[in-house]
Amino acid sequence: MRPGSWFHRMRGVIALALLVCFIAAFVLTACSDDDTEAEPPATPTTEVTVLAASSVEPALRRVDQDLRSRGASVTLRSEYGGTSTLVSQIRSGRAFDIVITASRTHMADLVDDGAVAGDAYPLATNRLALVVPADNPGEIDSFDDFIAHAAELTTATCAEDVPCGELARTMQEELGVDVHADTEETSVASVMTKVRMGEVDAGFAYLTDAEAADDEVEVFEIPDFPHNDTQIWAAVAAEPQEQEAAEQLFTLLVGESGRTAFEEAGFLPPPAAEASSLD
């Protein structure tokens, strides 16, 4: 680019034009809805933001399908993450309408913080399962077999601060076993990823995750132990963005269709009424 050439003289204008184009493109993409894909809804719908533990995804997907097929006025915008990640995000002020945790204690923390409205309800319970890749590289044939060879096998669990990690620790304490975890992942989803990719011989995940990845993994039951399940709890935000729609969806979640969705996704029923208190 020689000084004095046309490009040189116009370079400021060109740069400015490019910048304007970028900004315009950015704004346009940010504003455009996906209305090219979905048919225009007959009734105006309200979007409810649900922050949910990653293990809940299969159940929420069913709820979402149900809402769509009925042409309901409420639509789901669900975002998944490890329960403790979600809790810390909520603490730093993340806006949401409904939160679903994979543990009772995390929900109790949120209630104590005043981040959610007082009434939290248990939706379902989930159990821990031993999951191995479909080709079973560790040649594991039962939970006991796994424990016997745990030291030589590569194993993934959740970190202890995550509900599935808490449950794995309880299991080790109650059953008096040691799983020799090679990696402690930040959510049950990343444990499943490591198992599905065949990077580990075994992983500890929820029964529902194992069922959702049916053809890619093999599942072994874990012997019964005290406190062998974790509870799925839901609550409406203390200051929801869409109060009415949020409450509508919450009623649906704790009601019959919510229960069906969780059951179909392989969850166990919520604890009996007398046990379903946060205290």
């Binding site: 403790s84 810390s88 090679d182 990696t183 402690e184 930040t186 580990v200």
Partner: protein, 266 residues
């Protein structure tokens, strides 16, 4: 010499100040928010110390790897005449712009148990994932381009006369490189090493995806910060302060008033 500072348009200040605030405010806020007097106490926890120690060890090893392989790469890119080199350069520098998680996934594809190299290795009983070696590889993968770039630009800007003079005095190619070129590019080498080390210390995404997170083996300081953030934000902030301090020293040395140390003395 004519002073030209007065020719700067005043208009520069507004966006410049916005940019400077955007870049400095978050770190300053963290320093304000963190309970500074409690930092030593929070750092006394064995898990935090373990993570810091592991970070220093792996970053040192990875920086060593970057020196051993990065310097030859940089010299070849600057002086090499092989036809392939211009094509190799962007590939070698790719990790600079790659999202770290993508780097982790790519490393898994190569060295994971099902990976291209990892599978035969695993058959021989060698596993890389979930070991400290995986952390070192992840760090070297993202940091080596810094070394290559530093060395390449330093060597490229070197006057060839020195090398030619050395050659006419009978020095072989290796002697010329060792006694003439490398001492002359020492500032670039030092800067590259420091940047490399800092990048290794900060590596997070690739480590988490490729090496996992196990206390003492693969849980480096940044991974620990991420985990602590969820359970104990105060401790996370304390550890973050330490990492900021290290980073400050590094950028201070390479880009700040301290950069004179790194400039060529003639």
């Amino acid at each position: 010499m004519v002073r030209r500072t007065s020719a700067l348009p005043g208009l520069l200040w507004l966006p410049a100040v916005v940019g400077a605030v955007l870049l400095t405010l978050p770190v300053l806020s963290l320093l304000v928010e963190a309970d500074l007097p409690a930092v030593p106490e929070l750092l006394a926890s064995p898990t935090t110390r373990e993570a810091l120690l592991l970070s220093v060890q792996t970053a040192t090893a990875a920086t060593g790897l970057c020196l051993v392989c990065g310097i030859p790469l940089g010299v070849l890119m600057a002086r090499g005449r092989a036809r392939l080199l211009p094509w190799v350069r962007p590939l070698v520098l790719l990790p600079l712009v790659l999202p770290p998680v993508v780097a982790g996934v790519a490393l898994l594809a190569a060295f994971g148990r099902m990976g291209l190299v990892g599978q035969p290795l695993h058959a021989l009983g060698v596993q890389i994932t979930f070991t400290s070696l995986a952390v070192v590889l992840a760090q070297a993968f993202v940091a080596m381009p810094f070394m290559v770039l530093s060395v390449e630009s330093a060597v490229a800007s070197l006057d060839r006369e020195y090398e030619e003079a050395a050659a006419t005095m009978g020095a072989g190619p290796l002697a010329t490189l060792w006694w003439v070129v490398l001492p002359l590019v020492r500032p670039g080498l030092l800067a590259g090493t420091v940047l490399c080390f800092a990048r290794c210390l900060g590596e997070f995404g690739a480590t988490l995806a490729f090496a996992g997170s196990a206390a003492g083996t693969t849980r480096t300081a940044p991974v620990e910060v991420y985990l602590l953030q969820q359970s104990d934000p105060q401790a996370a902030a304390a550890l973050a302060v330490v990492m900021i301090a290290v980073a400050l020293i590094v950028v201070g040395l390479v880009y700040g008033p301290g950069r004179r140390l790194f400039s060529v003395r003639r």
